[in-house]
């Protein structure tokens, strides 16, 4: 099973790489392919990539990534339409939107795959706890970001919000979920923090009977944090 990590030399902020390390522990026979910024993404031409992953990146790196991915816009769109499994965390989803707006109103054009756009506010960093729902499970995590995402994600949101914010401070719908494309602003070791979601993701990736690494410990940590977050939300 192949997992492609896009641009790890740039998309490596906020401990997001913990997600890939955890998937590797859950899938010891998996092959991690790291695609660097001057290379063509493998999933464009290869059919056997079980997951494409991109983590949080800096604002300047977003611009570099957009430039590198631009020639593959149509291919990426097609891949998402045909069910390619992707997980984008932190601000990485912004490169697939219409544009990213700076404080001075200047705009960086994105790949325009999703009908969303981001606004930067570099003087105000948003930090918050998050509690929400995905299907029948509770999701928790942390947000730390300079941008907010705008646009209508009512038809393709990932999580509902119970505590914290959605794609922006006025939204109660977090992330983007279209076919097998998953994007969330939750940062860090999101898959370790959310073992039940990880099980679902592994199933989407084609694992019939997925097993969690360090199952007992991650479930215990999840339950302790869930309890704490519910106390905070009350």
């Amino acid at each position: 099973m192949k997992i492609e990590v896009l641009y790890p030399e740039l998309c490596n902020l906020n401990g997001d790489i913990g997600n890939i390390k955890y998937l590797q522990k859950c899938l010891p026979d998996s092959q991690i392919i790291e695609t660097s910024i001057n290379e063509q993404p493998k999933f464009i031409n290869e059919e056997d990539i079980a997951l494409v992953y991109m983590g949080t990146l800096s604002e300047r790196s977003q611009e570099i990534v957009i430039k590198q991915l631009k020639p593959y816009t149509e291919n990426i769109k097609q891949k998402i339409e045909h069910g390619q499994v992707c997980l984008f965390t932190g601000n990485s989803v912004e490169v697939l939107g219409k544009y990213i707006e700076n404080e001075d109103k200047s705009k960086i054009e994105g790949l325009n795959i999703f009908d969303i756009y981001a606004k930067r506010d570099m003087l105000h960093r948003h930090n918050s706890f998050y509690l929400g729902e995905y299907e029948d499970i509770e999701i928790l995590g942390f947000k730390s970001q300079f941008t907010m995402l705008y646009g209508n994600n009512e038809q393709n949101y990932l999580f509902k919000v119970n505590m914290g914010i959605g794609i922006n401070e006025n939204s109660t719908l977090e992330g983007i979920h279209q076919n097998n494309f998953f994007a969330t602003y939750l940062i860090g070791p999101f898959l370790i923090l959310n073992p039940y979601f990880t099980l679902k993701l592994l199933k989407v990736m084609g694992i019939k009977e997925p097993k969690l690494a360090f199952e007992h410990a991650v479930l215990e940590a999840y339950n302790v944090r869930l309890k704490k977050f519910k106390t905070i939300s009350n």
Partner: protein
């Protein structure tokens, strides 16, 4: 904005001075509030207040407190008359407090020298009003992601606000730090290639991996840790600069280093053997040289100087050595450096980790994302026989240790710090390391006491 003193300025100054006096009478810390209130009442206050003629600023991600403490101690030892924010905060309110306390009732500077630790994130609030004569930048790494985001963000802030007149003293082995304020005059420092340097980086975190000019993957003549080392772009020639002060010989065994400059080669005694503290010493030496100190005077002044105990302490207790080491929570680099330090020390060890940021925890819960940027893998070492994790995030730390392939048999994980410490196995170890956060000083003392109690009990048992 005009820096001419206004009536509002004088009123603000007097209120701040009275509040400072009142807090001292009440035996409360007057290290932040007077400055904070002054800046609230008069936002341009720092601009109007007269500053000492010479200002030594120290900024950067790691080491600024240690560098300032060393400079302050040496200046005090040599009877310099100066102000500093040693006991105060390093953000705008703390710096304003220091300057208020160092000024007369008419806003004139009482002293002609200031040593100021300056938080890098506060650059936008400080440098528009204060122009350091010299500004040391120790290094730039990712720090608390909630506050400092990433190094590009920090570098942008520093580049935007550091005054052009300031002479920068920068770490030449840090390709991010050495490119701060490129239009300013600079003095670079470096430590020459060491036997412990590597061909390839073994850290998880490297805050710069591609050339910022042409996006080609950066290469290294050698890597020391993270992005520290001799880096270059094979395509466009972007590289770490040549240093003005270079440690050419490092004799850890005899605790000596030789520093080479354009015109001289000088030997200094080391006060600590960790590379980070050698960089810190190097920065201190340059500052002292700029203040007119000779090599002899600097070396004499270093004698008897110690790294502040809240950051590092070493104590022989019966046949054991107990070492406490600051590893700032939420700062993956500081933790990785501490982990690396432990694994490279001789002897068999036990490690007690209380790295939770209790300040953050008090606000609700700590974001543990930083743990996956920190090299817990360094603790997966044959010489480390036991690892004890305790505190509110003990389960997260336990999982992180498992992710580093550390055998669960080696790990004790409990929320209660004393209960966890009670399980310390003293057999087959010589050293006990206690790694703690800045906000866990009291807990560290309790753990140390418990460790001593366990050692005493063992002695008693042996006698029986």
């Amino acid at each position: 904005m005009s820096n001419k003193k206004t009536f509002k300025f004088y009123i603000t100054l007097w209120i701040a001075k009275v509040s400072s006096f009142a807090l001292k009478i009440l035996r409360r810390n007057a290290t932040y509030f007077p400055g904070k209130i002054a800046l609230q009442l008069c936002p341009n206050f720092l601009g109007m207040l007269e500053k000492p003629k010479t200002i030594i600023g120290v900024t950067g991600t790691n080491g600024k407190t240690t560098v300032c403490n060393m400079i302050n101690d040496i200046l005090s030892k040599n009877k310099f008359d100066f102000i500093n924010n040693k006991y105060g905060s390093n953000i705008d309110g703390g710096i304003a407090t220091t300057l208020i306390q160092g000024s007369t009732f008419t806003g004139k500077a009482k002293k002609q020298l200031a040593v100021l630790e300056i938080d890098e994130r506060s650059a936008n609030k400080i440098y528009p009003y204060i122009t350091p004569t010299y500004l040391v930048c120790t290094n730039l790494f990712r720090d608390s992601l909630m506050r400092n985001a990433h190094t590009e963000f920090m570098a942008d802030i520093l580049n935007k606000y550091i005054p052009k007149e300031t002479i920068m003293i920068e770490n030449a082995d840090d390709i991010i730090c050495s490119n701060i304020a490129n239009d300013n005059s600079k003095i670079y420092f470096s430590i020459d290639r060491l036997p412990t340097d590597l061909e390839k980086c073994e850290n998880i975190t490297r805050d710069i991996r591609i050339c910022p000019k042409c996006y080609t993957k950066l290469e290294y003549e050698y890597v020391r840790y993270h992005h520290i080392g001799k880096a270059y772009c094979p395509k466009c020639g972007f590289k770490t600069p040549k240093a003005d002060y270079i440690v050419t010989k490092l004799d850890i065994k005899n605790k000596k280093m030789t520093i080479k400059t354009k015109n001289a080669e000088e030997e200094y005694d080391l006060i600590n053997d960790s590379i980070i503290n050698i960089y810190n010493m190097l920065a201190v030496i340059i500052v002292l040289k700029k203040l007119g100190f000779s090599q002899e005077k600097i070396n004499d002044s270093f004698k008897g100087l110690k790294i502040v105990e809240t950051r590092f302490s070493q104590e022989k207790y019966n046949e054991y050595e107990i070492i406490t080491h600051l590893a700032k929570g939420m700062n993956p680099i500081a933790c990785s450096r501490a982990f690396d330090y432990i694994r490279t020390q001789t002897g068999k060890k036990a490690v007690i980790l209380i790295l939770d940021d209790l300040h953050e925890e008090a606000k609700g819960s700590e974001d543990t994302a930083w743990q996956y940027d920190a090299d817990y893998e360094f603790l997966n070492n044959e010489s480390i026989k036991q690892i004890i994790v305790a505190g509110p995030r003990y389960l997260d730390s336990y999982i992180r240790l498992l992710m580093a392939n550390i055998s669960p048999e080696k790990i004790v994980y409990k929320k209660d710090i004393i209960e966890a410490t009670s399980q310390l196995k003293l057999e087959d170890i010589e050293k006990i390391f206690i790694l703690h956060d800045l906000y866990s000083i009291e807990e560290t003392k309790q753990i140390k006491l418990k460790v001593k109690e366990l050692i005493n009990n063992k002695e008693e048992m042996r006698k029986i």
